[in-house]
Amino acid sequence: MPVYLDHAATTPMRPEAVAALTAALGTVGNPASIHSAGQRAKRSLEESRAVVAATLDADPIELVFTGNGTEAINLAIKGLSWQRQHDAERPRIVLPAGEHHATLDTVEWLAAHEGAEIVELPLDELGRLDVDALAAELEANADRIALVTMLWANNEVGTVQPVARVAELTAAAGVPLHLDAVAAYGQLPVGLHALRAESGAQPGAGLVAISVSAHKIGGPAGIGALVLDRTGRIEPLIHGGGQQRRVRSGTQDVAAAASFAAAAEAVALRLDADAERMAALRDRLIAGVAAVAPDAVLSGDPAPSGRLPGNAHFAFPGCEGDSLLFLLDAAGVAVSTGSACQAGVPEPSHVLLAMGRSESEARGALRITLGHDSSEDDVDAFLAALPAAHERAAKAGLAARRTSFDR
């Protein structure tokens, strides 16, 4: 029985999400239609919207369904950046190093095509934003900043960012903040209103947008959402029929929304218990790795509360992550090297590089991520397969540098 420990990539669909999806696929109706079939579709869609919004501490009107997390992030960054140019020139986009490619490539596009200035703030060795650097940037340049964007928690190394502090700083500076919560959603409480209230956010400033994705929480791939505070103003990426506050036109996917809602409801009901269970499994896994490979270095925050409960990430010195991945895969255990892949072409993780690791350290990276269905048996199977894989990968690691065939 294969063991799946790559929940950060995607997580198995929950049975209630599968049931909701298949049930809804059998019905007809465009939620924008006026007849009864349309009204039934609209009712289902808006019920789903309300459920998902509630899990994100937002009102239904503040939840915009998108095609996926990447689209939500693009909408937030480009939409806020464009909107913020209406009354003043605000070229600066502020972000920590080590963000997801959905963010990096979006801001790089804005820089290349529209003259945006990218202000990349340093991470510490645990992968956490230097808050003082953010404070200094806001102090010096608040009136030239379009937005601040940051991961709620890092998708590779699992480090939870100082979200409350960043929300306060941006609120005080009057600058809008977008949080990419794709990795955090379903693992930590993620929400809009309480955080806005606690950080003293004024209309349109401080935390205004949060991106999430359904397939990371046991929902279907192909739907995500942007939580956009009712005071937050944004330019759309997609123009058309004016659906969803004109922020995201296009016929809405009733079935995917229903499935997303079913998964979100399941997450919300058990978030604390699930997080506690995952954290216990994670700590057992981390201890097990230390026993097998004492030289393996845990990446990110070693404090249990400082990292995602489902995330364990290591650098194995002298090994290549892709060798470990291959050997574990052959032993029936699915894990990840954690870094970006294009058609399977690995590259050293920009997150680890931003945390001050060398390229050779970054090559030994392995990410093991747990989810709602992970069990002790999964962790034990991984720990049972690791010693042989580690020994072989260490041998192969030497080959990647110099070989006995060299002459």
């Binding site: 060798s323 399977g344 590259e347 065939f405």
Partner: protein
């Protein structure tokens, strides 16, 4: 699995033979192109996807292994260094020597595999004493034993070329069609894989710049000027733009590139004729000539054929190993008829019949026509 038809059919045959096969695509560039262009048939994302489709059809696992760092150091940087030193390197040989049958092979062995299977056209056969020998492929027109001439006995022991016995590439394509492989009619790749547009001169100029210098004749007299010595290769006639015509009015050819002096030496066609080539970087593809029974002891001549380019015809020659006294040992090869257009940096592969005996990287050549003759 490059994504081409040869490695696809090689993989299919390995699977059919009952082996436990895993498809590996080598990531050799950090910045792979997205779509295939021109005559290239490897190294883009599209090619990687082609390879994966083949693996899916064969129901074998498929992985991309990243050798981009080593490829840059051992093949691309070496290519630039060789050109800047006035030599003409063969990067495909270097890739076989350093990447496919070194880095990849060693990693594969460490991970528990027994052999690397490729779609090269060549044969590994047991010799009279049971030792493995490398031979030309049955498909004469496609034979790639030349670019595998750098392999040693140890590497041959873990190499398998399932296409070696197939009489033609067309048969391989037909087999790919029969097997339902979508790459059956994919064009062959000819260019150097890391120079996508095939413009080697421009690619080199971007990396090493262009410094104008003199074109001289064999006596040292300046007869013209150039925009960068690395753009010239031995044997070249076109594009010299010489200001001073030769006294005899006959065309002149590049005889030598001297990067240290940034000069290009030209002369008459006869002066291209090379009577002897020699190199200290040599290796044997299996047993050496003594162990093969070709010579009784080092230093004696033995008869062979020598080939100096992937698609050149082999020519009869005599060769010997010169222990060289103080200096490094050299493989010295004298073709029975002088060879034209031999450049240092090229590889001379020595054959006995269809068997690859070994190879050397050419360090020096001796002209058949002395200066002033």
């Amino acid at each position: 699995m490059s994504g081409g038809v040869d490695s696809a059919v090689a993989a299919a045959r390995a699977v059919e033979a009952g082996h436990d096969v895993v498809g590996v695509h080598l990531a050799l560039s950090r910045m792979p192109g997205t779509l295939r262009t021109g005559s290239r048939g490897c190294c883009t994302i599209e090619d990687s996807m082609d390879a994966q489709r083949v693996a899916n059809l064969l129901e074998i696992p498929y992985y991309v292994w990243d050798f981009s760092e080593r490829f840059k150091e051992d093949v691309v940087d070496d290519f630039v260094a060789e050109y800047t030193a006035g030599r003409t390197p063969n990067p495909c040989m270097r890739c076989n020597e350093r990447i496919k049958f070194a880095a990849l092979l060693e990693k594969a062995l460490a991970l528990g595999f027994d052999a690397v299977v490729t779609g090269h056209y060549a044969k590994v056969l047991p010799g009279p004493s049971g030792e493995l020998e490398l031979h030309r492929a049955s498909a004469e027109a496609k034979d790639q034993s030349y670019v595998l001439g750098v392999l040693t006995a140890e590497q041959l022991a873990h190499a398998w070329f399932p296409l070696g016995d197939t009489p033609s590439k067309e048969l391989v394509r037909q087999e790919a069609e029969r097997r339902g492989l979508a790459v059956a009619r994919k064009p062959d790749s000819y260019d150097i894989c890391f120079i996508p547009d095939g413009d080697t001169k421009g690619w080199l100029a971007d990396r090493v710049g262009e410094t104008p210098g003199d074109i001289v004749d064999r006596t040292g007299a300046v007869v013209g000027s150039h925009d960068g010595a690395h753009a010239y290769t031995v044997g070249q006639r076109r594009g010299l733009r010489l200001g001073t015509p030769a006294p005899d009015g006959r065309p002149r050819f590049v005889l030598e590139v001297r990067p240290k002096e940034n000069t290009v030496v030209v002369g008459p066609k006869e002066a291209l004729a090379t009577a002897e080539i020699a190199g200290s970087r040599f290796s044997w593809a299996g047993l050496d000539p003594v162990a093969s029974g070709l010579v009784g002891a080092d230093g004696e001549d033995f008869e062979c054929e020598v080939q100096i380019r992937a698609h050149a015809d082999p020519v009869p020659a005599v060769a010997r190993i010169d222990r060289g006294g103080e200096g490094a040992a050299e493989l010295v090869v004298r073709p029975t008829q002088p060879l034209d257009g031999v450049a240092p940096g090229q590889t001379a592969v020595v054959y006995v019949g269809t068997r690859v005996l070994g190879q050397c990287t050419i360090d020096r050549t001796v002209s058949a026509v002395p200066v002033g003759a």
